[in-house]
Symmetry: C2
Subunit: 151 residues, 2 copies
DNA sequence: CGCTTGCTTCGAGTGCACTCCAAGGTCATA
DNA sequence: TATGACCTTGGAGTGCACTCGAAGCAAGCG
């Protein structure tokens, strides 16, 4: 018995520091979710999940004997990452690129690292912009607050 | 002689605390910029500037005697705000709504305040999300950093 | 058995925010 | 005054990220 690997590229003996407890794991250890279960977990639509697969943004998803998708915890973790990256404004095409690198194996570690570091810089920049905007909003809100009460 | 009002809704005797020095002001105090000057200042395209006007996102922009646009410092400050709000992910339609409130005069102070406060909450949420994502990125980057060097 | 629910595929449609085009008028400078 | 860069308009086009629809197969249940 072992804990579930956190994400695709980290399913490696040495990845303990980065492994998270899977919040999706079933009591019985079952690891095959239908698309509608994944919809419930992720908030994505079934259409979007299938579309992700079509454009190469998902690793191969397992199928039932009748051809229906059966998602693993690993798939769920991957979707978690994708969702987070989407929030940073990363274009889908870039995520597809990352997915390709993951599929290509551990030879691409260096390139993946660079890609994530660039993304990291982008995220820091976005946060700085948002803080800037927050300052403007606060000035304006306090203007309206005083004007709204003093007249 | 007086300083330039900072933004549309704050051109009010009591708005000194919120006034910024206009970084665009010309030495000769001239206050009528061509569209290409505004392009240079804002980084927006001329197409986008005209489109903003068409959809009601700009206050009325002054024209030369031959019908060409002449932007004021106030217009520039408004564009600054719009650009910041865009970065927060606020839909253009919401900004148009805000612009309408500004046009409608000081009766809408309360509503404008509420709109900005909602936006403020959204921005705080976005920042939290981005920080979350940053944590994930950092974990993955350090994974690749150690894996990349130890094998 | 019939019914409901959920799944499959592919291709077409949607909404947003621009982005560009064509045809023509204007402005600064050599 | 001529040249070339810049400006005007309305409408059409683009790219992204979904989002939906149609037709049909499969599983569970009263």
């Amino acid at each position: 018995m072992q804990t579930t690997p956190a994400t695709l590229e980290e399913s490696h003996p040495a990845d303990i520091c980065s492994a998270r407890p899977s919040r999706h794991a079933r009591p019985d250890g079952q690891d095959r979710y239908t698309i509608s279960e994944v919809v419930a977990f992720t908030g994505l639509t079934a259409h979007t999940l299938r579309w992700y697969e079509r454009i190469g943004l998902m690793p191969h998803v397992d199928r039932s004997h009748t051809g229906q998708r059966r998602y693993s915890n690993r798939d769920l973790d991957w979707l978690d990452l994708v969702t987070k990256l989407r929030l940073t404004g990363m274009p889908v095409a870039d995520m597809v690129r990352y997915a390709e690198l993951v599929r290509a194996g551990s030879d691409t570690y260096r390139e993946r690292q660079e890609l994530l570091e660039q993304t990291r810089r982008d995220v820091l920049g976005r946060i700085a912009e948002l803080r800037d905007t927050l300052a403007v909003l606060d000035r304006k809100i306090s203007f309206y607050a005083t004007e709204g009460t003093t007249r």
